[in-house]
Point group: C2
Chain length 168, copies 2
DNA sequence: ATACAATAGTTGCCGAAGCAGACATTGATG
DNA sequence: CATCAATGTCTGCTTCGGCAACTATTGTAT
C-alpha cells in the first residue's frame, strides 16, 4: 500500500487523476517540449555568433555576479560539474574568460570575464531580449508576470520537495 | 537598424528590457532549470523499473493513441528521428513494442504495444501522477490551471512564431 | 513511363552532458 | 599532530540527442 507523501506532508490537491491523466496535460511534458523548442530557437540565434546558449548563459551569470567560480556556475545553471569545466576550457580558449587559482582557498579557481567576454554578453543581450519579447508578444503583462511567478514557484517546489515517490 | 518583428507583426509588449534584464527572470532560463530538475526527478522514479523517462513517455504516447508510427512519435514527443529509431530498438528488444511494416504504405512501420508494454504504462502511471501531484501540491487549482494554460500558450507561440531575430 | 520531390525509417558521426573516480586542499575532530 | 569528512576542480567513460547522409517507397508532374 503506497503512502502518498511529498516531502513534508500528505497531498491534498489532486490536480492529476490516473483515470483522466493525459500526457499532453503533464507539466513535465509541457516543460520538456517548450524547453526543447525554445533551446533550439535560442541556439539558432547564438550560432551565427559562434557561441552556444549555455556558453552565453555562463558568461551572463559571470557578468551578473551570480558566479565567481566553476562550482558557482554549476549551481547557478543547474549544470554538470564536468561539463562546466569543459565549457570553461572553451570559453578560456576563446578569450572570454580567465581562470586564476585563489590564494585564500587554493582549491578554488576564480573566474573573470575578459573585455571580449563582457562585450559578447553586451552584444548579444539585446538580441536575446528582443527575441524573448517577440515570443511573448501575445502575452499580456499580467499573463507574463503570472507565468514567471508560477515557474519560479515550481522551481522552488522542485528544489525543496522534489518529486514524491523517488525515495520509496 | 534592426527591425523588431516576430513572425506576423511588430512587438508591442516589451516584457523584458535590456537594462533591467536578469538571467533568473528569463522564461528560457526558468524553463531550462525547471525542466532539468523535473527530468532528473522523473528519471529517479523510472530508473528502478529499468526504463527511462523518454522511453516511458513513448509507451504512453502509443498507449494514448497519439502515435502509430515512428514519425508520429518524433512529432508528438518533439524528439529526434534517429534517437526515436534507437529508442524503439531498445523497447522492441525488451518486448514492450512490436514493429511491423505497413502493407498500405511500405515505408511506414506500424508500432504496437505488447501486453508487457501496456502493463508497464499502467504500472508506472499511478506513480508518475502521484509524483506530479506531490510536486504541485502547493499550487491551488487556479494556479495549476493557469500554469498549464500559459505553458500551452507559450508552446503555441513557439510553434507558430518561434524566436524573432533567428532569421535576421 | 520517366523523372523528381517528398516522406519514412535507418545508420554513422559528433558534440555535449551525466556519472564516477581521482587529486588537491581545507576545515573539523580525535 | 593525525585522521577524516567535505569541497573544488579536473578527467575518463558512457550515453544520448542533433545532424547529415542514405535507402526505400510513394505521389506528382512532365
Amino acid at each position: 500500500m503506497r503512502q502518498i507523501t511529498a516531502g513534508q506532508g500528505t497531498v491534498t490537491n489532486q490536480h492529476y487523476n490516473v483515470k483522466t491523466f493525459h500526457s499532453t496535460n503533464s507539466v513535465g511534458y509541457l516543460l520538456k517540449v517548450s524547453h526543447a523548442q525554445m533551446l533550439a530557437r535560442a541556439e539558432a540565434i547564438f550560432a551565427p555568433n559562434g557561441i552556444s546558449f549555455v556558453q552565453w548563459m555562463a558568461l551572463l551569470k559571470l557578468s551578473e555576479g551570480q558566479a565567481q567560480t566553476a562550482s558557482d556556475l554549476c549551481r547557478a545553471m543547474c549544470h554538470d560539474n564536468g561539463a562546466v569545466t569543459r565549457m570553461l576550457d572553451q570559453l578560456e580558449e576563446r578569450g572570454y574568460v580567465t581562470r586564476q587559482r585563489s590564494v585564500q582557498d587554493r582549491r578554488v579557481v576564480e573566474l573573470a570575464l575578459t573585455a571580449a567576454g563582457e562585450q559578447q554578453v553586451a552584444a548579444l543581450k539585446p538580441q536575446f531580449v528582443e527575441a524573448l519579447n517577440g515570443l511573448m508578444d501575445g502575452f499580456s503583462k499580467a499573463e507574463f508576470a503570472e507565468l514567471t511567478r508560477l515557474l519560479n514557484k515550481l522551481l522552488l517546489a522542485l528544489q525543496t520537495k522534489g518529486l514524491a515517490g523517488a525515495e520509496g
